[in-house]
């Protein structure tokens, strides 16, 4: 990210020097004030969903979700480690709500716990893929921004988002099973793509 930031920044700055240098500072300030507006929209959205999540946690809904996810996680990650499994469950449920910030602490703990287990090579990769492609039930930040910008129907992206993330997770899991469990020739590539998409 550092390299990309500095390259793009310098490229823009140099380009602006040729076009109209007086716009440089105003562009920077303009950008920052935009981000402040954006933060207000996001703060509103996070407040609502984190509030709801706390109610879930206190009423035991979160624990129920983890219990539901656990057998699936066991089969997927091929591990019996208690700590890893419970961290994974919490991590996945927070990710599904699109609150990446809440998912991160559990993800880190799960990665550490998995690293100590026997099957670490495979299960770490699976954790990576599941997190990186995570299924989104409710993309809370996106909905928050759309509401703030006055969308007529802010939730009409729910179904396409759900389907497309389900597909990406499906493809990811299928490919991980295919390539990372034991070595197999790469010509099976296409087939697994279909299977992953079909399964969801």
């Amino acid at each position: 990210m550092n390299v990309i930031f500095i390259c793009l920044f310098l490229a823009c700055a140099v380009a602006l020097c040729f076009i109209n240098p007086e716009n440089f500072l105003s562009a920077l300030l303009d950008g920052t004030s935009k981000s402040a507006t954006l933060c207000v929209a996001l703060l509103a959205s996070y407040a609502v969903w984190l509030g709801l999540m706390q109610v879930w946690e206190d009423s035991g809904v979160t624990r129920g979700i983890s219990k539901l996810i656990r057998p699936v996680a066991k089969a997927l990650f091929k591990t019996d480690d208690e700590e890893a499994l419970s961290c994974i469950s919490m991590n996945v449920s927070a990710n599904m709500l699109g609150i990446g910030g809440a998912a991160t602490p559990y993800g880190i703990r799960a990665a550490k716990a998995l690293d100590k287990t026997k099957n670490a090579e495979f299960s770490s990769c699976m954790l990576f893929v599941v997190n990186a492609t995570s299924v989104q039930l409710i993309p809370t930040s996106v909905i928050g921004i759309r509401v703030a910008l006055g969308s007529g129907n802010p939730t009409d992206i729910l179904i396409p988002t759900l389907l497309s993330t389900a597909i990406s997770t499906g493809v990811g899991i299928a490919l991980t099973f295919l390539f990372l469990r034991d070595k197999k020739p790469p010509f099976l590539h296409k087939k697994s793509k279909k299977r992953g998409a079909g399964a969801k």
């Binding site: 950008g31 709801l52 206190d58 990710n95 910030g101 409710i138 910008l149 009409d156 990372l180």
Partner: protein, 171 residues
């Protein structure tokens, strides 16, 4: 059909609160407790948001954004993805807050309910920040195959973007 989607969120709240009442949870206290966590979360992402919005405004003003989009448009239109969301697709695997900043730019520019905007929303949700997950979750963990996991994740992400944009046309 749209009414059904619009009902999802209020129903989630009603059901959750009813359940909490049954479980004898002090809902107000508990809700306030959760809302409190929003402030540190925002404080922690603001610096990243601000830097990336600065960069994206610079990209716009300097005309490099248009240049990038023109270069990439043949690739994207081949897959049926609107070329206007190309920068978003490229930045998403690298930075979550950065992509949120770009997303809100796109929504403002092309209208929040336009086809382009909806594609952008779906593309934004299509994957998490792949490199961030790699850097944060697995810092200090050395496993040979994690690189392969990274490539798989990126591949799955691109498929999801293509499919998501197609879905936006139908749904």
């Amino acid at each position: 059909m749209n009414v059904v989607f619009a009902l999802i969120i209020p129903l989630i709240f009603i059901l959750s609160f009813l359940f909490a009442i049954i479980k004898k949870v002090k809902i107000y206290d508990s809700f306030v407790e959760g809302v409190k966590k929003a402030i540190p979360l925002i404080v922690s992402i603001f610096p990243y948001l601000a830097s990336i919005t600065m960069l994206s405004t610079l990209l716009d003003v300097s005309g490099l954004n248009d240049l990038l989009v023109t270069w990439l448009s043949p690739v994207f239109s081949f897959f049926g993805v609107p070329k206007e969301i190309a920068p978003l697709i490229l930045i998403k695997p690298l930075s979550g807050s950065g992509s949120i900043a770009l997303l809100s730019d796109i929504l403002e520019k092309y209208g929040v309910d336009s086809y382009i905007a909806r594609c952008a929303c779906v593309a934004h949700g299509a994957a998490e920040t792949v490199f961030y997950v790699g850097a944060v979750y697995f810092s200090g963990i050395k496993r040979k195959r994690l690189t392969a996991a990274l490539i798989i994740s990126l591949f799955a992400y691109l498929i999801a973007v293509v499919v998501g944009c197609a879905l936006c046309l139908i749904l």
